[in-house]
């Protein structure tokens, strides 16, 4: 029963993905179809055209099992020799360094803005 609801709701969420793809077909916007679908679904929810109950169980299942959907693309790596070279190892090092800088910069900006807003309201 629960599985049936999840499958039905995932089918319904597909509608927005197809709508996104259709829009991309008519207007050549350089935005992924899934991103357009996300915006359309959000607007539909905010305008109460779609009720949260219609999609919540299916949507939550998709988000909870997100890691599963990455696996085949990760297996696809065997088709590329690049990653198993010195350059591949260097790329991994680069990612570590860059990610640290990114997190530091993001946390710093958000904390500064939060503190400033907090001081103003006090």
């Amino acid at each position: 029963m629960k599985l049936g609801i999840i499958i039905l709701q995932i089918g319904f969420i597909h509608l927005f993905l197809f709508l996104g793809a259709a829009i991309k077909n008519f207007i050549p916007v350089p935005v992924p179809a899934s991103m357009i679908g996300l915006l359309l679904l959000l607007i539909a929810l905010l305008l109460k055209i779609v009720k949260l109950e219609w999609i919540e169980q299916g949507g939550n299942w998709l988000l909870a099992e997100l890691l599963l959907f990455f696996i085949p693309s990760a297996v696809g790596i065997v088709n590329y020799d690049e990653i198993f070279s010195l350059q591949g190892a260097e790329s991994v090092l680069l990612i570590g360094v860059s990610t640290f800088i990114v997190m530091g910069a993001t946390a710093f900006t958000a904390e500064k803005m939060y503190n400033r807003k907090h001081r103003e309201t006090e």
């Binding site: 993905l17 992924p32 991103m35 679904l41 990455f70 085949p72 990610t99 997190m103």
Partner: protein
């Protein structure tokens, strides 16, 4: 028949990897490392070409697009938080995405990586479904981008807590946005250990990072690509 077999075996290995990681939550036992590795070994052992496996499991990858649409649900549920902190979220994540693209670019040039690697590395700090799309649009290799995204997530979830501690970051918004920006879904998983608020901001940070990177993918990145090709 093959389709059912490969989808089934992928799902089973994924479940098993998740169980192992729950029992021993060590970074190198992350499900996104051990399940693809197990599958690569398995298809090599039974002499199945990778392309055949990929063709059989395209329905699994297809679900990435649908999952992206489903991210409307957490935004909708937390719309009051989005409205209240919209300025902070946009400025912090714009900073984060710029730093991600520029630092990756500068580092990869200094390491003299080949252009294919450079292009595939640029969209790496965003969630895989969108990163794959951005990578395709800017001429990268989606499979390489996927691996870089996974590396970023795993590194970020390890490094993130240290960055938060060393910089004495105390607000839930800064902690959450940093984890979501730096390590997308894997970071959001980590953010749950801090609390509900951190997890919410992390989810929002991840979604905004994807959206803003799509924008850079159409403006800043093509310019940088021209630079790479003229060098």
């Amino acid at each position: 028949m093959k389709t059912i077999f490969f989808i089934g075996i992928t799902y089973l290995l994924y479940r098993l990897a998740k169980k192992i990681y729950k029992r021993w939550p060590l970074p190198f036992l992350h499900p996104l490392l051990i399940s693809p590795l197990a599958l690569i070994l398995l298809i090599a052992a039974i002499h199945v070409p990778a392309d055949q496996y990929l063709a059989s499991t395209k329905w699994i990858s297809h679900m990435l697009g649908v999952s992206t649409v489903a991210f409307a649900i957490p935004i909708y549920k937390h719309i009051h938080i989005v409205k209240k902190h919209l300025g902070n979220i946009i400025i912090s994540i714009t900073t984060g995405t710029l730093v991600a693209i520029l630092s990756s670019f500068a580092l990869s040039l200094s390491m003299r990586l080949n252009p294919e690697l450079v292009i595939s590395i640029l969209p790496r700090s965003i969630t895989t479904p969108i990163a794959i799309e951005v990578s395709k649009e800017i001429g990268g290799l989606p499979a390489l981008t996927t691996v870089f995204v996974i590396c970023t997530g795993i590194f970020g979830s390890i490094i993130g807590p240290y960055a938060i501690k060393w910089m004495s970051i105390t607000s839930p918004i800064a902690r959450g946005l940093a984890l979501g920006m730096g390590a997308h879904g894997v970071g959001t998983n980590k953010a749950r250990e801090y609390g509900e608020q951190e997890a919410t901001f992390s989810t929002l940070g991840m979604i905004f990072a994807a959206g803003i990177t799509v924008f850079w993918g159409n403006s800043l990145i093509p310019l940088m690509m021209k630079m790479v090709h003229t060098l």
